[in-house]
Point group: C2
Chain length 699, copies 2
């Protein structure tokens, strides 16, 4: 991939569509570039040429006498193609198309965008947009603010990509108010060329970028995202807000897996599996960014609260515990230190309530003591200003204590409003300040997930010896016969070919064969329709269980055959006969091809657990052995597999093995839209684990 330096590190910029008329985008962009003191040459381009904003203007980019690295295009959409062509001719390396009127309006706009992309590719340019808010690079050697907003981003280590222009503007303003510093910013608009993935990768190697924030509405290429994000998050935190939940997943799906996927499981699974922190709002995104931009990631989940007010201390405790953080009690050592230095009415516990009279000395002793204790990985000072205490003194005390430690501080200044001198002081020293303790709890919980991700084993992607040819043939045969679903013998054979244990079966085409099969298997038996294929087998009463003798069997066989009715030409009626399994725990392994994320793999306990309690886990594929393991353990009903009430614990390796083999299967074949292996019986007894029934939906 070509580097995006052509976009973010130009030495000369042409603003095509520049204007002097106030309240126009063409004026604002030019003005912002000048006002932000772009460290290079600016060439306004406007059909009327002349002088714009005190700078000589040219009628086209081709008239510019110097080389042009980057062009910002704000002309009406119908003129964009011609302008882009001229840029190509001029040798411009990058363009940022602000103009709207492309794919987002549908119809002709889609075509226009396709044409634009062709021109860009042909000229070997890179393009941001169209329909975007612009780009920023705060690097003092560049100083480029090519947006049309009011914010003047301060330099810092945050890079931000936004898929919404309006949010982009809001984000820069908000960052300004929170005193956050940015490295680069990019509003990607319609992502016709440069995508979030490109930026994530580019910023991975950008030394000034410490953390990447993303506002996403869609994943263009989730596989590439996963690959890049997995690498990036090893060293740099990535935080994302992903909106626009995929209601598609929940739509009239024809299998359990489909119905269970519902909104958003794909996004959650994907972000979680590549270590990207996800927040549920822009506000939380900034809360997390505020911490990560200048404080280290804590080494554990132990929190010490030091407060001068009881109520907020309790609120913080509630919120932290609810978010899964820990508040270890004060150690004897800490208590000793504190007892000597604090007034007797201070009760020595965590949260440590220094009471309203606490001043610089008390805060200093308390903060130093908890910083020195290895049980605490994060320090949360809470301050509500009493009239007798100067907030600046407390802020300074917190700053001093923070300097002496490698533990992150998250401070709550409550009741002084959105901004106060003490808060400003803290922010200037890189200490995040929050107005409410709940924001601190959520922030820490999000960051703690990332810490756990960094610590967890990365896992392997084993490859099994399988028989692909068998599966190829079965798929081909079913497609040939016009069937979109594979059931019965074929379905079990696919599993067998991929080494997944299946319950033995015999095919019978008539009553006599069925009776013969049953006598070999031994009653009770299960009889299922093998062909012709009907999708909803259970509803169609195409599965008959617990058949106890020859008489029952004959009657059920005839009933089933009658129910299926007249067969089409070439179809042959047959049934699968299996032993009735009464031991073990029913589980379900499923696959759903998500329109955005590709195949998701699902695991859960069968019956009521999947149907009523919806207790299932999803992961994106390919699946590693470690993720297969935590997928199983993440179920609420996991204790049922783990020796509940004295039963034999299940050998989890057998389930993991099956999940990994299914992951390989869907990697090998992209024809599967949905898979249900239901039930996959597991048991404490080795050799008793097997798939009893399966169904594949193919495209």
């Amino acid at each position: 991939m070509k580097s995006l330096d052509c976009i973010f590190k130009p030495q000369s910029i042409a603003v095509i569509g520049a204007s002097s008329r106030r309240h126009t985008i063409g004026r604002e962009i030019l003005h912002n570039l000048i006002d932000y003191e772009f460290n290079g040459k600016i060439f306004p381009v406007n059909l009327k040429a002349g002088v714009i904003h005190s700078i000589k203007a040219y009628s086209t980019v081709l008239h510019v006498p110097d080389a042009v690295d980057l062009a910002i295009i704000v002309v009406p959409s119908k003129a964009v193609l011609e302008v882009a062509r001229q840029c190509g001719e001029k040798g411009v390396k990058g363009i940022v198309v602000i103009s709207a009127g492309f794919r987002e309006i549908g119809g002709a706009g889609i075509k226009l965008e396709q044409e634009l992309v062709k021109i860009v590719k042909k000229s070997r340019m890179r393009m941001v947009g169209p329909n975007c808010f612009g780009v920023v690079n705060t690097d003092p050697n560049i100083r480029m603010n090519a947006t049309f907003g009011k914010a003047r981003p301060k330099p810092g280590n945050i890079s931000f990509v936004s898929q919404s222009g309006a949010l982009g503007e809001a984000i820069l303003n908000f960052g300004d108010q929170l005193n956050l510093g940015f490295s680069m910013f990019c509003s990607v608009g319609n992502k016709a060329d440069v995508s979030g993935n490109d930026l994530l990768e580019y910023w991975h190697y950008d030394k000034k970028t410490g953390i990447t924030l993303m506002y996403l509405e869609s994943f263009g290429n989730p596989n590439r995202f996963t690959r890049i994000a997995r690498e990036v998050t090893k060293t740099k935190p990535v935080v994302a807000v992903k909106s626009g939940r995929t209601a598609q997943g929940a739509k009239a799906a024809s299998s359990h897996t489909g119905a269970l996927a519902g909104a958003d499981v794909g996004t959650d699974a994907l972000l979680n599996q590549c270590g990207v922190m996800r927040t549920s709002s822009i506000e939380e995104l900034f809360d997390v960014a505020m911490m990560l931009t200048r404080q280290p990631i804590p080494k554990g989940n132990g929190v010490a609260i030091v407060t001068n007010a009881g109520g907020p201390g309790i609120l913080a405790t509630d919120a932290l515990i609810n978010c899964g953080m820990k508040l270890p009690s004060l150690s004897t050592t800490v208590k000793k230190k504190l007892k000597a230095a604090l007034p007797p009415e201070v009760s020595l516990s965590n949260p440590l309530d220094l009471v309203a009279g606490a001043g610089r000395k008390e805060f200093q002793v308390a903060l130093d003591a908890v910083c020195a204790d290895k049980n605490y990985h994060t320090i949360v000072p809470i301050f509500v200003q009493p009239i007798t205490i100067d907030e600046n003194e407390i802020a300074q005390t917190i700053i001093d204590a923070n300097k002496k430690t490698k533990k992150p501080f998250l401070v709550c200044f409550m009741g002084v409003g959105f901004r106060s001198p003490g808060m400003e002081m803290l922010m200037e020293h890189g200490i995040p300040v929050y107005i409410f303790p709940e924001a601190i709890a959520k922030t820490l919980a999000t960051v703690d997930n990332y810490r756990q991700y960094l610590n967890r084993k990365k896992g392997k992607f084993p490859t099994f010896k399988v028989n692909k040819t068998v599966v190829e043939k079965i798929i081909a045969r079913n497609l040939d016969s016009g069937s979109k679903s594979i059931i019965g013998e074929d379905a079990l054979d696919i599993l067998k070919a991929y080494g997944i244990p299946i319950a033995p079966y015999t095919i019978a085409e008539n009553g006599a064969e069925a009776v013969r099969a049953a006598s070999k298997i031994g009653y009770p038996v299960v009889m299922k329709l093998n062909s012709p294929q009907i999708l909803h087998k259970t509803e169609a009463r195409a599965v008959r269980v617990d058949i106890r003798n020859d008489k029952e069997l004959r009657s059920e066989f005839n009933d089933l055959k009658k129910q299926i009715g007249k067969l089409k030409k070439g179809e042959k009626f047959s049934v699968v006969m299996q032993s009735m399994i009464t031991e073990g725990v029913e589980t379900v392994i499923g696959v759903l091809s998500d329109p955005a994320f590709g195949p998701l793999i699902m695991f859960g306990l069968g019956g009521i657990f999947v149907e009523i309690m919806k207790d299932v886990a999803f992961r994106v594929t390919p699946l590693s052995d470690e993720r297969a393991d935590d997928m199983i353990r993440s179920l609420k009903s996991f204790p049922l597999l783990d020796g509940f009430r004295g039963s034999d614990p299940i050998d989890l390796d057998i389930i993991k093995d099956a999940l990994l083999r299914i992951s390989q299967l869907i990697g090998d074949f992209d024809q599967f839209i949905e898979i249900d292996i239901n039930p996959f019986i597991v048991s404490g007894k080795k050799g008793m684990c097997k798939a009893v029934d399966a169904r594949f939906i193919i495209k």
Copy 2:
């Protein structure tokens, strides 16, 4: 109860401990009273008398020549008793004790507080505090700000009670910044006399109070709270933050019910059952207050979003849907209206994205159209400022549209920071403005719960004919024998006495009797220890199930007897014999006496549902028939009772009846700390529902 007018509507106030020294509470209180222009006489009291803050001071309240209605006391704790006595003597009607050093410091402080209460009661005064932040009444006829904070509360319809002084200060400041108007404010401190309940009741009859906000750390008298709150919420909204979750509930409890209660179920059940909205933070409390203070409660859960920016519209949609709100599609009528008036690139859906160019006209047409449609009960305008649009114009358009309708508006102005001129305009016109759309979603969800509460049937509290004498005797007998747990025959007899169907049983004291009983009952049978009583029956293997013949029975009987070992004097070994029930669904009815809320009643499905899935519902008692009904239906596993997979649906009236009878039982007897009726078998077949086993823990 004496009215609290003596506190909130004084005509003369003495500030005892008044001072001219800056940064003292005695100075700040006096200063605030003067600065807020208290509409009555102020008398500074200070041992040194003289002049304080330009007002003649007196050495004690007894020296004040005029009558004194209210005294604000800020002297050191050791002087408070004497000062209070003087107030009593002077005929002061109310005192507000700001001074700390009472119950909150333990030991001598507790005693001091008890003495203080005695003085207050004896003099028939009412007291707020001690250890509080003060009181406010914004009524123009009173104008009392007797706090030592910086805020100058504006008049409005919110009354606020805070159990934390520090939060009280923060709350008044925050309210100021959000332009919220207060009627009264009270920091209750240690609640030695005036409690949150008193205030809730007082404000119920205060015409200026439209909504009550509460920050609570404990319920002094939950029963009284319930009684008052149920009345108040019929006409005035009450919103509460309750912190300090009761970890006690989860503490080493000896029953299922106890272990499941965990943190906070009592608070949730209590607030929910009396229509009090609960928010999880002070921030959310204000978000809700902002809406309720001047906008009506919506008539339904349909929301229309009108936005000029796609991204924030999507964020709002996600958040609203996640919170259970609905976004109905645009009707044909609305579409017609919009199509005629809006540019063609606007896609006509909900959220309605007017695109960035939208100005006054577009917003006006869109807002009027959705206001006129009965599918929408709440209107959410979202505005992100483009450079070409004046935010004040849009604010005015929103204000105009809001005036014409009875539907509430919740506005999001994103990216202009915490405050902007447009936001100020909206707030001045009583329209709540939020910076992020997620806050709007949470607010609407909270208010929608209240709407549903107001609409739901209130329910009856039936009284059943029961046999109290039997229960009295059983309790007495067990207490006499030193037993804290009632099991076996006694436990089943209690249920029988309260009309709850039980599985028939026979008592056997030796092997021969057991065999005789079994032959009458019919195998398989269940045998349980009857006495002596061992708490953890299952763990102690004191329940033997599925005994199939005489031989097995004799062997189990001997084994059980042997296991119990040597008996104490007066104890007699016996067993309860019952038929083994294999049909029906196992449920559990439980009771837990919460230290704060009194008895909570629990219901859930048995076995894994209660033990692993923790799928249980709690309610406070007494229980009404309607709450019993929604308690059962609130279970995630409810479909299993409702005809799952073609099984007969359970007659819910039988479960409801049992729950209501247990509610009556614990109303009649306060000796029960915990009750487990496990299993209570329910079935589609009438007459098959019965309690099989029960255990009562008594005090």
